[in-house]
């Protein structure tokens, strides 16, 4: 049986108090909200906190509001179910509703929060195992060991960034409202992540996500999220493509942002795609070029489900589908009735 090791369970009354507790207790403390990432990892010995600071029931992290000036405010403590079923989210940001609704299973989404998904731990076949398994196979650098078992010469950990919602938030230029012991600050999601499987967030460990802010300027964007995984449920993404576009009446692209997930240790913004698309009339050829640009910067390694070369090849396919869907352009294969098998 996998039991939780013993720990102190602390229930602060506010986020600020929680941040202060995390600062005082140091690396032996961890924050927990829905618990769907923390508890399995504690059972497998991947997380070994002595103190858990609970964010459950903090009203200041709850609520989803569309505001006239500031845009949309989504409390980090809202469950993935509530985000995916919120009518304002569904209307404005179907990509976010779909991403939140595609995480794991209905049961897990009833407990797991969007704040937890945004900072969900990076994943790897050699890391997401029980202590017993890892001890037998040899520990990796992310926990208890000192080399990377995927690429023994790698100096840094290659664990995969596996959030479904984060790439969508980047594509919508959202900001993170962080609360530290000294007060709040808002940071663009573009600056929150780092391509390092062990240290994949740039915020200070005691800083807590209070809310997600999607700017008013993103309200008119067409947006979509496509997820690749083996099963239609349970699975983490082994590739995710988030795209947000706007175009004028003639179909000329005004803005475009394309973000990949599960191809590196951080979400990957495909800058080249924006350069290719903005200012031009979106065509099949242009979409083809953007898909090639995305595939060039997609570098899956052999540490997740399905073959890494397949995941790289699917990057182009998924980007094409995402952009064509948003621009209302039919793709060759789809037009000929040869829709490739959905995985």
């Amino acid at each position: 049986m996998l039991r939780l090791p013993d720990f102190n369970y602390i229930k602060p009354k506010s986020l600020k108090e929680a941040a202060r507790l995390l600062a005082d207790l140091g690396p032996e403390a961890m924050a927990v909200a829905g618990g769907t990432d923390v508890y399995p990892k504690m059972k497998r010995g991947q997380f070994t906190p002595r103190h858990l600071v609970s964010l459950r029931g903090l009203a200041e992290m709850k609520g989803i509001r569309a505001q006239a000036k500031e845009g949309m405010w989504i409390g980090a403590g809202e469950t993935l179910t509530r985000v995916s079923q919120n009518s304002a989210v569904q209307r404005r940001f179907p990509a976010l509703a779909h991403a939140a609704g595609s995480v794991s299973t209905p049961q897990l989404r009833n407990a797991g929060t969007i704040g937890g998904n945004v900072f969900v731990d990076t994943r790897c076949n050699y890391y997401d195992q029980t202590f017993f398994w890892r001890e037998a196979a040899g520990f990796c650098m992310k926990k208890d060991g000192d080399i990377c078992l995927v690429a023994p010469k790698s100096r840094s950990c290659l664990a995969l960034f596996s959030s479904d919602t984060a790439p969508v938030l980047l594509s919508l230029s959202a900001r993170a409202l962080l609360v530290g012991p000294d007060g709040p600050r808002a940071v663009p999601f573009d600056e929150i992540y780092r391509d390092d499987g062990m240290h994949f967030v740039t915020k200070r460990p005691e800083e807590l996500l209070k809310a997600i802010l999607i700017p008013r300027a993103s309200f008119g964007l067409g947006n979509v999220y496509l997820k690749l995984r083996r099963r239609g449920s349970f699975d983490f993404p082994i590739l995710g493509v988030a795209a947000a576009l706007s175009a004028d009446r003639e179909g000329t692209c005004l803005s475009a942002k394309l973000v990949l997930t599960a191809v590196a240790s951080a979400p990957k913004v495909v800058d080249e795609a924006s350069r290719l698309l903005v200012g031009k009339k979106i065509s099949r050829e242009l979409i083809e070029a953007a898909a090639e640009a995305a595939a060039r910067v997609s570098h899956p390694v052999d540490n997740a489900d399905l073959d890494y070369w397949y995941r790289k090849r699917m990057t182009g396919v998924y980007v094409k589908r995402a952009l064509a869907g948003l621009a209302g352009i039919e793709l060759e294969a789809e037009r000929a009735g040869k829709k490739p098998n959905q995985v």
Partner: protein, 173 residues
């Protein structure tokens, strides 16, 4: 009572485990239990309250077997602490009988042989109950979607979906 609680506290301190008194509302009844803070709701239900109808599968959120209802929503009892379940309404499969009669879902599953080994069935029935309470006439796809977090390694799911549909159509005796 007080003395035994003190005794168990002394014992738990000896073991280095922190116990606390939990007040849980399970199947409409208020239960008090002194147990380790680190126990999941699944462990409290099975080991401290003797409610072994809730089954114990992967323990890490990858199978749905341990599903219970918390405030009418299906959640994984292996990933929520007993402490975190205080102040909520918990329903387990033991709470589905009404006036000595099994719930229509239980009767439909039994009648149509939608169980084989039966291990995943308490979680599936509770998940289906939560769906039907919210949406009494779901389509087959909606049932499929609602049950997409419950693995069954025997049935192939067809009879499970059939059984839920029987209840939707009111065909349960």
């Amino acid at each position: 009572m007080r003395k035994s609680r003190k005794d168990s506290k002394a014992k738990s301190e000896q073991n280095g485990l922190k116990k606390r008194l939990l007040r849980l509302k399970v199947n409409g009844e208020l239960k008090e239990v002194a147990t380790e803070t680190s126990k999941t709701l699944l462990e409290v239900l099975r080991e401290d309250l003797g409610l072994t109808g809730t089954k114990h599968g992967c323990e890490v959120g990858e199978c749905g077997t341990c599903t219970v209802l918390i405030d009418k929503q299906p959640v994984l009892s292996c990933l929520v602490l007993g402490v975190e379940s205080e102040g909520t309404e918990i329903v387990t499969v033991e709470g589905l009988m009404k006036d000595g009669r099994p719930h229509p879902l239980q009767r439909a599953f039994a009648d149509s042989g939608a169980t084989q080994c039966g291990y995943c069935i308490p979680g599936i029935i509770l998940t289906a109950k939560s769906l039907l309470d919210e949406n009494p006439r779901p389509s087959r796809d909606e049932i499929r979607e609602a049950l997409s977090g419950n693995l069954c390694r025997c049935t192939g799911y067809v009879k499970i979906l059939d059984a839920v549909e029987q209840v939707v159509r009111g065909e349960v005796a």
